[in-house]
């Protein structure tokens, strides 16, 4: 989203990527549009990239963020999505597959694969963040409940 950082200098985009085949490609793309993107602390830059933080650090990163963006174009369940809303973070995501079924709290839905809608939702964040009209009812997905349901099914 190179256009966003030029129109809104308050924005800071943070990535914590799990290492995979595409990670290097994604980082290269980020570097192409944001040559000053930093790894970890990068005062003054608009993009920071972290590499597979451990669970406790990642939890602090999420808790310290203002919004989580997870615009999947397909999803089996939505672990990141459910984690983010459980952490009481506003979530910008797509209205596809399981996501509308599993998220709760402050959520803004956009169309899948729409760069324009991501940009617009971030620029117009004051309209939906902390807005009760964008609040979905409480849902809970604990591992204990899942295990109990599976045991019940097979016995």
């Amino acid at each position: 989203m190179p256009e966003l950082v030029t129109v809104d200098t308050q924005l800071l985009f943070v990535f914590n990527l799990i290492d995979s085949k595409r990670t290097a490609y994604i980082k290269e793309k980020i570097r192409k549009y944001h040559p000053v993107a930093s790894y970890g602390a990068g005062f003054g830059s608009s993009v920071q990239i972290f590499n597979g933080l451990e669970k406790e650090e990642l939890r602090t990163l999420v808790a310290s963020s203002d919004v989580i963006v997870a615009p999947s174009i397909s999803e089996g369940f939505g672990s990141v999505h459910t984690e983010a809303v459980a952490m009481k973070k506003p979530l910008l995501t797509t209205y596809i597959a399981s996501i509308p079924e599993v998220v709760r709290g402050n959520v803004k839905f956009i169309a899948p694969a729409s760069r324009r809608e991501i940009v617009q939702a971030i620029l117009e964040r004051d309209q939906w963040i902390q807005n009760p009209e964008y609040t979905l009812p409480y849902k809970e997905f604990s591992r204990n409940t899942t295990v109990k349901e599976i045991i019940k099914l097979y016995h």
Partner: protein, 62 residues
Amino acid sequence: MNAIRMVYGIADKKIRMIHNGVDTTFRNPDEVTSFDIKNWKNQYGWNNRFVVTYYGHAGKSK
């Protein structure tokens, strides 16, 4: 679940939905103190910024 209904035509009465469980320790906001957040923001220069975060896999579907 809709895919099973629509693509395979399985009747609802034959479907039992059990969602994935998630890590309740990780996702508990009470595990992070305001002190932790203040430290993090100082350490990484997040003060006075609006922080937009993506985390997870970098696959095409994400």
